[in-house]
């Protein structure tokens, strides 16, 4: 079979799988967050942690729950790494250094999963399982909770309650992440992913590392986390042994973000509202995939041509299986890799970077993709309102000063962090020594690092050496700001929307369930990213691609 046709059929199979899950999973998730009934296990948990599940929270309380929970999560993960020598099943791997432990703790709690260490040499089973696997599940559940709180803001009126954070977090964990993660993990074991409690094995004198990979791989992909249990991540034959597991891992990272648009449509009582958002996500994803594919199959750099585009790729995935993974991992907030983005062509590397700079909405992280896109939809409605001189409305709520301010804060944090962080890093003399490549590509390595941290992606142009205290600290701070400032703005937005009364759609109301609105949102995303990042992109990937 022709290579291109085979590659396209892979895409078709992926889309068929996603389409099959879209409605059932989306509606199931809607039911999870609208059901009045608590599972018995959940009720037991609420009693243990002394939470009244029937009481709603005002947005500042909800936000305090998010921050308080994330804070203790970071502290525990930091301590687990620092105290590794006294933990069981650590294989004498020693305490993780303070800067790396700080960065890694923040990284996994913020759903970034940036890795500045070699896991198979640094971490034992206790930190991997009780530390990292836990946050792979919980940080994703937290993202879903925020998205649901925002939807409630649109649904409710004349109330200051946006739900109960502990109930949302628990349900997202117990009813979504854990059961689907378990099924995915078992399927991965069947496909040949490693699942071992040993530190390593030996074949003919060559030692190789082992790890409880399948249980972490499943939730790493399903929760759009991306932190590999091996250094090579999903390129490692133990994490991603064959083309079937590869396609399944791509499917896993897309399925929840995509289906959440259905959840949204179902919850607001108009499924076309969700379809419009889905078409924006899907349209962007398709355009980016096409660009990356064309660029990667037509390399322009001399070394790229000599290597036939195969430098940094696994033979079993080839170019289509690698590009499909790369575009999906940066369009979501996953950041897992099955091929080295640093070795992509200028165009394809630029696509993975731009995918993050769009704010990761094609289709975005678990929960984060939906709330990120809803904020951009609010900006689009606002812009349309400015054009015709009317007070903008979205889903029966007026978008006044408070709402638009919250939306603006939410989308401005990431660009500020990326540009200031990358600018600062590149201005420091030591950074030049940390680069693995020179010229425009070297600049891209630094820009990519801050884009990845601020968007909680976690993939890297991994040639950059980020083990210095400067990078560990500033990238850690970038992850914190990129995660929690938008979340606070969105919870404030949800609180303010919930307090409003519902307004009926009038003749002048912009129809937000029509294709035209999809184009408007898509245009807004591209315009905001282009205006903000064009100069930086011109210095990096554009210069490389056009050289």
């Amino acid at each position: 079979m022709n290579d291109t046709v085979a590659g396209l059929l892979q895409v078709v199979l992926l889309l068929v799988l996603l389409a099959a899950c879209y409605a059932p999973l989306g509606d199931y998730m809607a039911k999870v967050f609208t059901s009045e009934r608590h599972w018995r296990a959940e009720a037991v948990l609420y009693r243990i942690v002394r939470v009244d599940p029937s009481s709603g929270q005002r947005w500042p309380v909800y936000a305090a729950g998010v921050l308080g929970f994330s804070f203790v999560s970071i502290v525990l993960l930091y301590l687990l790494q620092r105290l590794q020598p006294i933990l069981p099943a650590s294989f004498d791997r020693g305490a993780v250094g303070p800067a790396t432990a700080f960065n890694t703790a923040i990284s996994f709690v913020t759903n970034t999963n940036w890795q500045s260490y070699v896991p198979e040499q640094t971490l034992g089973n206790t930190v991997q399982m009780a530390g990292l696997t836990v946050q792979n599940i919980l940080s994703a559940a937290l993202g879903i909770a925020i998205a649901v709180a925002l939807i409630r803001g649109f649904l409710r009126s004349n109330t200051d309650r946006i739900g109960n954070f502990w109930v949302d977090l628990t349900r997202a964990t117990v009813r979504i992440m854990l059961p689907f993660g378990f099924v995915a993990a078992v399927l991965l074991v069947i496909m040949g992913v490693t699942m071992s409690l040993h530190s390593g094995g030996d074949i003919g004198g060559s030692t190789y590392p082992l790890a409880p990979a399948a249980s972490q791989e499943a939730v790493k992909q399903l929760g759009t986390n991306g932190g590999g249990i091996f250094n090579a991540n999903s390129a490692h034959p133990f994490e991603n042994p064959n083309p079937l597991s590869n396609l399944f891992e791509i499917f896993l990272m897309l399925v929840i973000p995509v289906s959440l648009t259905r959840t949204f449509g179902t919850m607001v009582g108009n499924r076309r509202q969700g379809t419009v958002l889905l078409s924006v996500m899907g349209g962007l994803w398709a355009v980016m995939l096409t660009l990356a594919w064309l660029s990667e199959t037509h390399p322009t750099g001399a070394a790229g041509i000599a290597a036939g585009g195969m430098e940094g790729k696994e033979l079993r995935f080839g170019i289509p299986g690698s590009i499909l993974f790369g575009v999906s991992t940066t369009g979501t907030s996953t950041g897992a890799i099955n091929s080295l983005h640093d070795s992509y062509s200028g165009g394809a590397g630029g696509v993975t970077l731009l995918n993050m700079l769009f704010g990761e909405v094609a289709p975005g992280g678990v929960g984060a993709g939906l709330y990120g896109l809803l904020v951009l939809a609010i900006i689009a409605v606002f812009l349309a309102g400015l054009m015709v001189g009317r007070t903008p409305e979205y889903l029966g709520k007026k978008l006044g000063r408070r709402e638009v301010t919250a939306a603006a804060v939410s989308i401005l944090v990431m660009p500020s962090v990326v540009l200031i962080g990358a600018g600062l890093a590149i201005a420091l003399p030591g950074t030049l020594d940390a680069l693995n490549n020179d010229g425009a590509h070297g600049f891209s390595e630094v820009l990519y690092a801050y884009a990845s941290a601020a968007n909680n992606n976690g993939s890297a142009f991994a040639g950059l050496t980020v083990t210095s205290d400067f990078f560990q600290t500033t990238l850690g701070i970038a992850m914190l700001l990129g995660r929690f400032v938008p979340i606070l703005a969105i919870l404030a937005l949800a609180g303010s929307l919930a307090q409003q009364k519902r307004v009926d759609a009038g003749a002048g109301t912009l129809a937000t369930d029509k294709p035209l609105f999809g184009l408007l949102v898509g245009g807004t995303i591209v315009l905001v990213a282009a205006l903000t990042f064009f100069p930086a992109l011109a210095l990096g990937p554009l210069a490389e691609a056009l050289a």
């Binding site: 085979a6 929970f69 074991v189 060559s206 190789y208 133990f238 000599a306 995935f317 640093d342 200028g346």
Partner: protein, 195 residues
């Protein structure tokens, strides 16, 4: 605000402890339990049909080298590999990198000499390092390129070596997933058995 944060963090601590037990101990151990089902355990322990180890020993004299070679690895001291299986990773070199261009040319020349062919005959996957550095597969083209040498050094008939290569070759799954590959560890085990 601070009191509220402290109270919520206290609740968060309790929730985190419960979920650490559930998601960090129970969940992975249950998955591990499933992987103990006979038939699944071998691959779960890394000894199944997806070996990571390529050529174990590369003899100093290339003329006496009886086995098929894996792709080169950025983690290897030697420019042609094999990769260090105790870790994983790639070169992260850009496509306009002159370092990478030099390395590729060096590999191409060495492989051409080893196999006694023109440098242009060496396929791309033979010179480009993989992402993991321990890619167990090579392309059917690279296997075909090595067949003559393996036949000569092992004394096996060329047709027999070709048949063993064909047996170790996997097409695309379902005809369209992934790329056609030859698994080197499987191939070399078969060659060793046939000698």
């Amino acid at each position: 605000m601070l009191t509220r944060l402290r109270r919520q963090a206290g609740t968060g601590m309790l929730v985190l402890v419960v979920f650490t037990v559930l998601c960090g101990i129970v969940y992975p151990l249950v998955v591990w339990g499933v992987s103990r089902i006979p038939g699944l355990t071998a691959t779960a322990e890394g000894t199944g049909s997806v070996p990571v180890v390529g050529v174990d020993q590369v003899p100093a004299d290339p003329a006496a080298d009886p086995y098929f070679h894996t792709r080169p690895s950025a983690s290897s001291q030697d420019v042609l590999g094999p990769g260090d299986t105790s870790t994983s990773g790639g070169s992260n070199k850009a496509q306009d990198s002159t370092d990478l261009l030099d390395t590729l040319a060096q590999r191409r020349a060495q492989i051409a000499q080893r196999e006694g062919v023109a440098p242009e005959a060496v396929p791309a996957d033979a010179v480009a390092a993989s992402a993991s550095g321990i890619d167990p597969d090579i392309s059917p083209d690279y296997a075909a390129l090595q067949t003559a040498r393996v036949a000569r050094v092992t004394g096996l008939p060329a047709a027999k070596v070709q048949r063993i290569v064909a047996d170790a070759t996997d097409g695309r799954i379902l005809g369209f997933l992934g790329e056609p590959t030859v698994n080197v560890p499987k191939l070399n085990a078969a060659i060793a058995a046939a000698r």
